[in-house]
Symmetry: C2
Subunit: 375 residues, 2 copies
């Protein structure tokens, strides 16, 4: 199946839409939640277990896979799908996000003055060619450029790949932000050229940048929309909190092409999804639901359950009565509470299953509501 996007229904109430992304490994119904399996596995779930949950798209990180196991091993296995035995679609990022987070610190660490990683010296050089960094695994120097990122993503063979971009810091002069945007545009164009030379059945998404500067964001949308990318992701700094992020999404979404799928990078908490869907966002990736699971937080339709709470010790019912996930079908809150208190790995497995299944159902619900023009 070739990559294709169709809009099934546009809400009469908002810019929300229901769509379908066709990929070589199957269909993604949008809006869709994309779980993050950084190292080629969701944490605490093997690929067959993930298959059972109906997760249509999984996000893997090029930066991590470059370092371990390396593109050669994945290519030797016939690509990520056969390496990890996943039959459903996969998206990889460019690796840029992690490298520039190491160089500049992420927005969060920057704002919290926790930017220790800035100074760890693993990023050796950033110039027009790309970014040179040192592997934290074996000390090898690795040069990440638009061309080498695309080549790695060709070796991995995900259905959707992402152009190489620069992630500028949140605190940056408007002059520097403009210079960064221009470089990012040159890098994305080089990514596109490298991709077009060997399409390999994959789709390439651009990443629109410009930080919180609306003029730059608009320019970015216009420039990148003029190029034949298959989809558009909103990246770069999207603000210090949810309000700034949603304000930006509100403004940017109308500037993106209507007939291409779009993706909101790294956002996947429940209120952000609720806030962004009415603006027409198609896909969301985030490690939030799986990370919450490991830390004892279970999502339900009536709110988040903190499994550690003492009141859960004797609760002989599933997390949610009507949840069809294997965890809810087989185990009580009482048992899950015990597994968490006993620090058993089995907790991480069962909690991850539930939260991923919850996200899948949540997005099904949003699609139904959009079809009824209720969102």
């Amino acid at each position: 199946m070739e990559f294709k996007f169709e809009v099934i229904h546009k809400s009469k109430k908002s810019r929300a839409r229901v769509g379908r992304i066709y990929t070589p490994h199957g269909v993604i119904d949008t809006p869709s939640f994309v779980a993050v399996g950084t190292n080629g596995t969701l944490k605490a779930l093997d690929s067959k277990a993930v298959d059972e949950l109906g997760l249509q798209l999984m996000f893997c990180n090029t930066y991590h896979l470059l370092l371990q196991p390396g593109p050669g091993v994945v290519k030797n296995a016939g690509g990520l799908h056969s390496f990890m035995n996943r039959t459903q679609p996969i998206i990889t990022d460019s690796g840029g996000f992690q490298v520039f987070s190491l160089a500049y610190g992420g927005v969060y660490s920057e704002l919290k003055s926790k930017g220790k990683k800035k100074h760890d010296g693993t990023v050796l050089k950033i110039n027009e060619e790309g970014a040179l960094f040192r592997s934290y695994r074996n000390g090898d120097k690795i040069l990440l450029t638009p061309e080498s990122s695309i080549q790695a993503q060709k070796d991995f063979g995900a259905d959707i790949i992402v152009a190489f971009d620069e992630l500028p810091p949140y605190h940056i002069s408007s002059e520097k932000l403009k210079a960064s945007l221009e470089r990012t545009h040159r890098w994305e164009k080089r990514s596109l050229d490298a991709h077009v030379a060997n399409k390999n059945g994959q789709a390439l998404y651009a990443v629109v940048h410009g930080g919180l500067d609306r003029n730059l964001r608009k320019k970015s949308c216009e420039y990148l929309s003029s190029l034949p990318f298959d989809g558009y992701a909103i990246g770069g700094s999207v603000g210090k909190d949810r309000q700034e992020m949603l304000g930006l999404v509100t403004d940017v979404m109308p500037w993106l092409p209507d007939d291409k799928p779009n993706h909101l990078l790294g956002i996947g908490d429940l209120p952000s999804i609720a806030g962004a869907i009415p603006h027409g966002v198609d896909t969301f990736d985030s490690s939030h639901p799986t990370k919450c699971a490991r830390h004892g937080l279970l999502f339900t339709k009536t709110g988040t359950v903190r499994i550690a709470q003492g009141g859960n010790a004797n609760l002989l019912q599933p997390i949610e009565d009507d949840c069809p996930c294997p965890t809810c079908r087989h185990y009580t809150v009482s048992y899950l509470h015990h597994l968490f208190k006993a620090k058993e790995t089995t907790w991480a497995i069962l909690a991850t299953i539930h939260n991923v299944a919850f996200m899948v159902q949540l997005m099904e619900g949003y699609r139904e509501q959009i079809l009824l023009d209720l969102v």
Copy 2:
């Protein structure tokens, strides 16, 4: 189904035998490997995943379950089976082993002078009544006696339960060993009395003691065999190495009743199983195969695979071609090597599945060989 044991076949070549233990939750074909799920779960596998592997008997630890979640919670859930949603048989121990390991140090730590736990003060008092210790979880004082151990095991409701005994240190004078044995016998008789007052469909195993002293071991077998226990476990110090252990098993096994199932406590490495089966041991519990899995060691018919070895990075085949386990059916050594190197929890899951499945198949193989008088 009531508890019952039948011997199907006695080898013409050795004392090895094939048998069947009937329990309220199903049959255990012997010789059988008993995986250890200390806290009411195998580490890194939920009960449904364990069911698929054909593990007929699981071992849970009363000491740990007493502290977390406590017998009240398990009883409230209707017993361990329904608490953890296991349909197959379960055996619990008395809790004595852990308490006395805390008090005296285990044989291993004693021999290696690593007995730090001796001095951590969690065991407050040991006298004729039992052992008083402090919960490492909440500081509560807990009195473990024959009666309270049996009561906890009634609350847990395992198919097979074990009498409360004292675990004396490896280095002990013969006088003290004799005194300990006599106390253990009194405690086991009290355990039996408590059990008989409320059988609850459960079977009670005695634990024969006497350390390496053959006279004491013989006395222990004779005394405990004179009482109506349902089975006999070999416990206490069985020596500092495999040779001493197998020497002891060789001597002790003929002193145990032929028509009752027997169990070798805490032994389950492959050469020990190979050495003990010809002496007629029916069941073996050990955390060895699951611990090895987590540490990167996979069992195969041709030896142990160290998954971390570099040569595994590109190996596009299952751990064992003819292994029917889900891990071997779905994943390559190359992928497993990557998961281990990336420190992913998914490694622990997939490796545990394989090693438990290996043990199940290994014991099937032994049973076939015994039936053919080859062992």
